[in-house]
């Protein structure tokens, strides 16, 4: 596999594998040979159903994997610095927060209820930069709030004095205080209503625009949100990426049947959804302890043939530029999927 991207990407991941150790001693491989790239200044969206392994991938990329999850292998290069993830090696502590940072799922509830936001910022800065004067750390926070048009009053606020959306934005500011090269946002908008959702995606875009973060990986099951925030989208199914492409291309002309099925189940307030019955995707994602042979989507795919059940699908395209992994697509390179579902 060769990379066609002209300049070296900001993030380059190869062959990431991670598994949950179950009590019976068998491994559930939730991320299985995932390779991806992210250019500086861009947002890569990762979408899939519950159980597709997308949050596990977020944990691997953000170096926050904890037992029972263990990283089995893979290579992660961020801004030229390479990290070998095989053999259970622990990532260097200096990477967390300043090279990669995680905006966790349910972030709005991750603030300590008895700590003012300012005190938390002081803790964050000191944990990474050693002896820093309190005033300097608070200055860093207020400068950041000013730059992002957020009110200064949050510095002296306790979490309960802030709205859910504001708490979410505060956590975002705190998790990017050290200018990480890569921010991993794991379902940051799922608990928010549309207006706060929009404010958060605008904030993330602003952070990128100002160079306060190098690049963002945005994990969600909500494709319309990715349409608004992502430059590129990767679709994950049963621990693997099945399609990667630029946002508009992937949404307007999906290459993989799973992508097309996900898109078809989206409910947006547009006139056509009142006149057709949306079926959703039949069946459920497979048990990752025993994934299906061949293409993992074949039991739910209306286009599957014998070969899909027997052999792993080919990778059509390149990791750098975009690809899909599908036997049907290999035979029908130009046929739109929309008509087939």
């Amino acid at each position: 596999m060769s990379d066609t991207a002209p300049a070296a990407p900001l993030v380059r991941a190869r062959g990431l594998r991670a598994a949950y150790r179950s009590q019976r001693g068998s491994d559930v491989v939730a991320v299985d040979d995932v390779s991806l790239e992210l250019s500086g200044g861009q947002v890569l969206g990762i979408a899939g159903e519950s159980g597709s392994g997308k949050s596990t991938l977020a944990a691997v990329l953000s170096l926050t994997a904890r037992p029972p999850l263990s990283v089995l292998g893979g290579e992660l290069t961020i801004d030229g610095e390479q990290l070998d993830l095989s053999g259970g090696r622990r990532p260097p502590r200096t990477w967390r927060g300043s090279v990669v940072s995680l905006l966790p799922q349910g972030a709005m509830n991750s603030l300590s209820a008895t700590t003012r936001v300012g005190d938390l910022a002081v803790d964050v800065v000191r944990a990474h930069r050693g002896r820093v004067r309190r005033a300097d750390a608070l200055d860093l926070l207020t400068d950041r709030l000013d730059a992002l048009d957020l009110p200064r009053r949050v510095v002296d606020s306790y979490p309960h004095q802030l709205s859910g959306g504001m708490r979410q934005r505060v956590v975002t500011v705190l998790s990017t205080l050290l200018d990480p090269k890569l921010l991993i946002a794991d379902e940051p908008t799922s608990a928010l209503d549309v207006s706060t959702q929009r404010a958060l995606t605008e904030l993330l875009r602003e952070l990128l625009h100002r160079g306060l973060v190098g690049g963002i990986v945005f994990v969600t099951h909500d494709l319309p949100v990715l349409r608004a925030v992502a430059d590129r989208i990767a679709i994950m199914y049963a621990g693997q990426l099945v399609e990667v492409g630029d946002t508009a291309g992937l949404i307007d002309d999906p290459r993989h049947p799973y992508t097309a099925a996900l898109l078809a189940s989206v409910l947006v307030p547009e006139p056509q959804i009142r006149t057709r019955r949306v079926g959703g995707i039949a069946g459920a994602p497979p048990d990752l302890a025993a994934p299906p042979t061949g293409c993992r989507f074949h039991p739910r795919c209306s286009l599957a043939t014998d070969v899909c059940a027997e052999q792993s699908p080919p990778l059509l395209g390149t990791i750098g530029a975009g690809y899909s992994t599908c036997w049907w697509r290999a035979e029908h390179p130009d046929e739109p999927l929309e008509a087939r579902l």
């Binding site: 549309v194 929009r198 947006v268 547009e270 009142r274 006149t275 057709r276 959703g280 459920a284």
Partner: protein, 277 residues
């Protein structure tokens, strides 16, 4: 099959917040419903002078953001929360101060947001459903359980013996709907019943609701913050903002031709999949 409210008559759409509480074919009528929490300076009007009518055999959706009062409204309708002022009429009778909730709950049932926390994890589906015996007594038969499960598209043989962790999220929510249907209610309240499900499963649960409306004539109050879902299932839409009903009317009119600024803003903030004109 289409989900469109084909040929259904849609009475007076004045597009205003005063939604003429037309009692004609209404199963539920709320008149100036208000609920205040706290008192004095700290009083919060969670639901403020809201009037509406839920017509029989229709899906009415309440949309609004977090804190708009939509769940408070649902809880008043369920008689889980007393009404501060205003009047609630159910099937022609004033039930504002009715206290015999056991009989009322035979008529009005609900499903909530989290289908996992609503289960006792140590109970099988059969045992969960059997708890309805407290309301139904001897009326609860095996056949009735099977029928309720069939109505939500589940095969009794597949699910009755299972524990919650052996079911998918979508199946769990279907079981919760089946539990509600055991009562053969005339009103089903679905409070954010799809919010915790994957986008790929939401449509399947919403299809259960539209099928219940179309086949069994069930009246449904659906509560959501997602206008996309409201657009898919609703006959009528009520838009709540800070406890006040700011707009109401037939779904098509409210969603594609909103008149109130708040509704317009809410719609503008919804992320779309495709560019629209």
């Amino acid at each position: 099959m289409s989900t469109e409210p084909t040929g259904r008559t849609t009475p007076a759409d004045d597009g205003s917040a005063s939604a003429a509480a037309d009692a004609g074919d209404a199963l539920v009528v709320g008149e100036h419903l208000t609920r205040v929490f706290g008192r004095g300076d700290a009083a919060v009007r969670a639901v403020d002078d809201v009037s509406f009518a839920l017509r029989r055999g229709e899906i009415t959706t309440v949309v609004g953001e977090s804190g708009s009062g939509k769940s408070t409204l649902a809880r008043m309708l369920l008689k889980l929360l007393p009404v501060t002022s205003g009047r609630l009429v159910f099937d022609g009778a004033d039930v504002t101060d009715r206290t015999d909730t056991t009989a009322y709950w035979r008529q009005v049932q609900a499903v909530f947001q989290d289908p996992f926390s609503a289960f006792n994890q140590f109970f099988t589906v059969r045992r969960l459903l059997a708890r309805s015996r407290r309301l139904l007594g001897a009326e609860l038969t095996e056949a009735r359980m099977v029928e309720a499960l069939e109505q939500v598209g589940l095969a009794a043989g597949d699910v009755l013996g299972r524990y919650p962790h052996q079911l998918s999220g979508g199946q769990r929510q279907r079981v919760m709907i089946a539990r509600a249907l055991l009562m053969r209610p005339s009103l089903l309240i679905a409070d954010e019943a799809t919010s915790m499900l994957d986008a790929s499963l939401r449509a399947t649960i919403l299809n259960v609701l539209t099928d219940l409306r179309d086949r069994a004539g069930l009246t449904i109050l659906f509560i959501t913050h997602d206008i996309g879902q409201a657009c898919y299932v609703s006959d009528q839409v009520l838009v709540l903002s800070r406890g006040r009903l700011v707009e109401s009317g037939p779904a098509e009119r409210v969603i594609f031709d909103p008149r109130h600024d708040y509704t317009r803003k809410l719609l503008a903030d919804v992320p779309r999949l495709h560019d629209t004109g």
